[in-house]
């Protein structure tokens, strides 16, 4: 498992038109990787993520995405993702095709992908119009043993999953602590797994049941301190809630959004430079 610069990792493994899952449920969102995809101007991506969050708002607004698979697309505790809305409601900067699920459905879809199963399973009891608009994407089937109603969700198997994590050890094993979301499932469901980490250590301080991804399931890793900012890395830095609140205003207007992205993402060489420009680096 090679250690690469983030620029090299994205250039090598994220191709135009690929299906890409940047996971991390509120915590450990791989922002640095998302920004590098924007810098390298990838196009036609199929973005997959339970909660698109700001990072997908940015990728969508910068024209990287053609398709979005998701289960909740808002700015948590703040409101809308304005760039996501603009793409869906007005096709700016380009139309965005949606594949929409519930959290429970997406969770089992990742589990299925990670298990080598063609589909995941939830009880088919929730009466929702989503079933109608999902078309053939979720199928009802009675349980062959009990006749209970089941809903089958096709497996998610992203071309590339990207995670941010706390630590990598000298042998390339990666430790994730805190809220883990569906990180493990998305990682093991992917054809290729890229990981960015806060730091490299000699040995991981991992409890027996800690979430450790062994080096041999990882395609490539990059050391990117602060790589989850403005989300957070437990034990390293907290979530920048003030930035999430400020994003509502920055992203509301196409011009203000584009200017912000040009200045802070396209206009800097890498994530460290972005953190310095935003006055976050100490």
């Amino acid at each position: 498992m090679p250690l690469l610069s983030l620029r090299e990792a994205i250039a090598t493994y994220v191709k135009d038109g690929a299906s890409v899952a940047l996971e991390g449920f509120t915590h450990l969102i791989p922002f640095a990787a998302g920004h590098e995809i924007i810098r390298q101007q990838r196009r036609g991506l199929h973005l997959i993520r339970m909660t698109p969050d700001l990072v997908y708002d940015q990728l969508i607004g910068m024209g990287c995405a053609a398709r979005l698979t998701f289960s909740w697309g808002g700015n948590p505790g703040v409101g809308s993702l304005h760039r996501l809305r603009d793409a869906v409601e007005r096709g700016w900067p380009q139309p965005l095709e949606l594949a929409e699920f519930t959290h429970a459905e997406m969770a089992v879809a990742y589990q299925a992908g990670a298990s080598g199963l063609p589909c995941g399973l939830v009880r088919g009891d929730a009466a929702t119009d989503l079933t109608r608009v999902q078309g053939s994407a979720v199928q009802a089937l009675p349980c062959p043993f009990t006749n209970a109603a089941l809903a089958l969700v096709p497996a998610l198997t992203p071309d590339v999953t990207i995670l941010h994590a706390q630590q990598i050890d000298a042998r390339g094993n990666v430790l994730i602590c805190g809220i883990v979301g569906a990180a493990k499932e998305a990682a093991l469901a992917a054809r290729q797994l890229l990981v960015t980490v806060e730091e490299q250590v000699e040995t991981l301080q991992a409890d027996m049941n800690a979430l450790v991804l062994p080096s041999w399931v990882i395609t490539a890793a990059s050391i990117v301190p602060g790589g989850a900012y403005p989300s957070y890395a437990q034990g390293y830095y907290p979530r920048d809630n003030a930035f999430y609140l400020a994003w509502d205003e920055i992203s509301r207007d196409r011009g203000a959004f584009t200017a912000w992205m040009k200045r802070n993402v396209l206009g800097v060489a890498d994530h460290a430079a972005l953190l310095r420009r935003l006055g976050v680096a100490a």
């Binding site: 909660t51 519930t102 429970a104 088919g124 929730a126 809630n241 609140l245």
Partner: protein, 265 residues
């Protein structure tokens, strides 16, 4: 003793908090539900078990989280479980007593829309979407809904049914496969709506002090019926307001704090 000056938001939060019994296992949404649940925990229900969908179980935050997965929730949790587990082992398995939901639209049977305003394929407003709401509405033993009441949000016809309430009313939910009992109360900025025992249509069950039936009706997009006994919700106690205001003040200070990240030189 009741405090004389309070906002409708505070009245709403206090009323929502009072619905929660000590020891209940509660699946919490962000915003007002989260404020109400923590107010309850800090006042009459110290053993309320709060679960946020990020997998934080039994969390006891000092400040309110902005998102469902803030570090505050992780640091004060009894345990943190992976996301597939929170939905499968806890929610779908039936371990949640109370689910707390909000939405952009609600109809007379407590069905909820958090997906789109207008047509699904060409929406006027694209809302965040389902998240965990359809399963919470279906599997929590009972559901509390918190929403500001207006003719835009309390509608005769939903644009999209994201999560089920009593479906078409009467026996329709009981005849469906949803195991939970459905919405027990809708807490609004006018008072509390509860399902009629027979029809399961939401009707006005309680009003806040000095709020009129007419004003509540005028803020509802269907002909709102009044329950057989219409109660008046007692104004917030001084203690309730004090705890709630402290919580909000701590939260505001925490959310304004700037983040510094140490980069290797």
């Amino acid at each position: 003793m009741s405090a004389s000056i309070y906002s409708r938001d505070e009245m709403m939060t206090v009323t929502a908090a009072r619905q929660l019994r000590n020891g209940a296992v509660c699946f919490v949404g962000i915003g007002l539900p989260s404020a109400a649940c923590n107010l309850a925990r800090l006042t009459h229900a110290p053993d309320l078990v709060l679960i946020y969908e990020s997998g934080t179980v039994g969390t006891r935050p000092i400040v309110l989280p902005l998102s469902i997965g803030d570090n505050e929730l992780a640091e004060t949790a009894t345990c943190i479980v992976p996301l597939p587990e929170i939905f499968a082992y806890y929610l779908q398995r039936g371990r949640i007593d109370v689910g707390f939901l909000g939405a952009a639209q609600i109809d007379r049977f407590g069905n909820l829309n958090s997906t789109v305003i207008g047509n699904y394929t060409h929406p006027k407003v694209r809302l965040p979407g389902a998240g965990g709401a359809p399963e919470i509405a279906s599997y929590a033993h009972e559901v509390l809904i918190v929403m500001k009441q207006s003719t835009r949000s309390f509608v005769a016809q939903l644009d999209f049914r994201t999560s089920c309430g009593y479906l078409g009313g009467g026996r329709t939910r009981a005849g469906s496969r949803s195991p939970g009992a459905g919405p027990k109360a809708v807490i609004t900025d006018f008072g509390v709506l509860r399902p009629n025992p027979r029809t399961l249509e939401l009707e006005l069950a309680a009003l806040y002090p000095s709020v009129s039936v007419e004003s509540a009706r005028a803020a509802t997009g269907w002909p709102l019926e009044v329950a057989q006994t219409l109660e008046v919700v007692p104004a917030p106690e001084a203690r309730e307001l004090e705890v709630l205001r402290d919580l909000h003040a701590r939260t505001e200070a925490a959310h304004a704090a700037s983040v510094r990240i140490k980069l290797p030189s």
